[in-house]
Amino acid sequence: MTIRPEALPTQEMTINMGPQHPSTHGVLRVILTTDGEVVTRAVPDVGYLHRALEKIGERVSYAQFMPFTDRLDYLASMNCNCAWAWTVEKLAKIEVPERAEYLRVIVCELNRISSHLIAFGSFTADMGAFTPFLYAIREREKVNDLFEMLCGNRLTYNYARIGGVSADAPPGFLEKTREFLDYFEPKIDEYNELISYNKIFVNRLANVAVVSAADAVAYGLTGPNLRGSGVAFDLRKDEPYSVYPKLDFKVCVGTGERGTLGDCFDRYMVRINEMRESVKILRQALERIPDGPVLAKVPRVFKPPVGEVYFRAENPRGETGIYLVSDGTVNPYRLKIRTGSFVTMNLFETVTKGLMIADIVAVIGSFDIILPEIDR
């Protein structure tokens, strides 16, 4: 005897995927309304890590704000540090020495690699495969060693300064970086063999949460999320800053190779390919880095001119834009940080309609959000 589905009355459940959850990449709360296993509505509730960075920015000086930018996106600290430094330099029209710019690009790309490694590792761990996480951390520890050699810390570096960087590369740093690149480049192929084309992994990601190119632009997606939907826009190529115009690399775009263009698998592959491109950029930067000073002369009590500036940098999680309003005093007047993850959450409710609960985990991981970027 078959039971007709419409004969059974069902009721929707409201489940809390609470702030403490192993797969939410931080303290994100998602309020799910589900019909059995299928999600009818997923509302994100953010703010559990709101630490008032923007208000702090109004109370400390420009140089003192640099350690706080570390905590903005702690997996891409160098990128955030340099974004803040570039913003203030754009406002005050400070000329940065070329060696400092090359060092900034080197650490930004190394940090991009280590951020994508964690994104890759924790994403596959969420999908149920724990081994790639340990492999990723093994590589990341080597990058941590390089950073420790350079600036002393493993996670929140506070390396960039307004006008340059805080310390020159110690002897042996550039050679060790080259060794790391030679060691790391074949590992990317190892990851592809290990997990990327695994049948179960692909089935969990293909055709899940497809975001079309027009939607991606309208909803403000940036970075690998935007490129995963087929839009070939990379700030390093299209609105270049620092020494990126001199470096040659490809923009990695999703191709819809397994499933539809713009699904979770595309976003994941964009990150894997970006690691390869970062290795290319690093090799070129290591060849071309000139000698010279690493810090421009900036007055002790730094008062930039009155004005407003908006600077965008390509961070591993999207575009980090800093809107800085200055009134000529030692503290910024208003500091607004626009981060990739915060704007990506706009799309979350639309894109998760009709998915299973397990797919919500895939969506969160494929967007590679991180909570301090959302909450600041």
């Binding site: 953010v46 703010g47 709101h50 008032a52 923007e54 208000k55 754009k90 406002l91 632009v217 309208a218 909803y219 403000g220 839009v231 070939a232 826009f233 190529k237 299209d238 609105e239 270049p240 115009p245 001119p305 009155v306 004005g307 407003e308 500036v309 908006y310 965008r312 575009e319 834009g321 809107y323 309003v325 208003r334 607004k336 626009r338 915060f342 704007v343 959450m345 706009n346 799309l347 909450d375 600041r376």
Partner: protein
């Protein structure tokens, strides 16, 4: 490097807006502002936003950033717009009075605006009329006050814990 489309200068964008909307396009802030800001009247923010997005010469299809600012005598909402096709950027600003600041929402023009408008509401108290969802986003639901206002006083206690 991608070939840029046809970027349009800020002054010309201001002229176009002035021609189409008259007094709603109030002013151009160019000196010391990067990108330049077109100051618009708050009530016409939605029509101007729609025009900026749909006009083929301008085609600002991407809202980069939406932020509230508290100039001491008035509030402002600053929009940073970017065109993927033409590779140009412009800022749009609307000044609001300090008591009861409100203006129409742009989240039907650029859906990217929704969370950022909620943040401006949460931290400044600026009301976006017609928004599909205007609630506090970063602070707890029962928080009192709008912290990023310049005159905000930090509370003593919250739920029994010292702030």
């Amino acid at each position: 490097m991608k070939e840029p489309g046809n970027p349009v200068e800020a002054q010309s964008i201001f002229e176009i807006l002035k021609g189409k909307f008259g007094d709603a396009a109030v002013d151009l802030q160019a000196e010391g502002f990067s990108p330049a800001f077109v100051v618009v009247a708050p009530a016409s923010v939605k029509e101007i936003a729609r025009f900026l997005r749909d006009d083929p010469a301008l085609s600002f299809d991407s809202l980069m950033c939406l932020s509230g600012v508290d100039y001491k005598d008035r509030f402002a909402v600053a929009y940073h717009l970017y065109s993927m096709a033409n590779r140009h950027a412009i800022g749009m600003k609307a000044f609001l009075p300090r008591e009861a600041p409100s203006l129409p929402t742009v989240d039907d023009v650029w859906p990217a605006a929704n969370f950022q408008e909620r943040e401006a509401f949460d931290l400044f108290g600026i009301v976006f009329e017609g928004s599909k969802d205007l609630r506090r986003i970063l602070l707890p639901e029962d928080w009192e006050g709008h912290p990023l206002r310049k005159e905000y006083k930090y509370p003593e206690f919250y739920h029994g814990i010292k702030v």
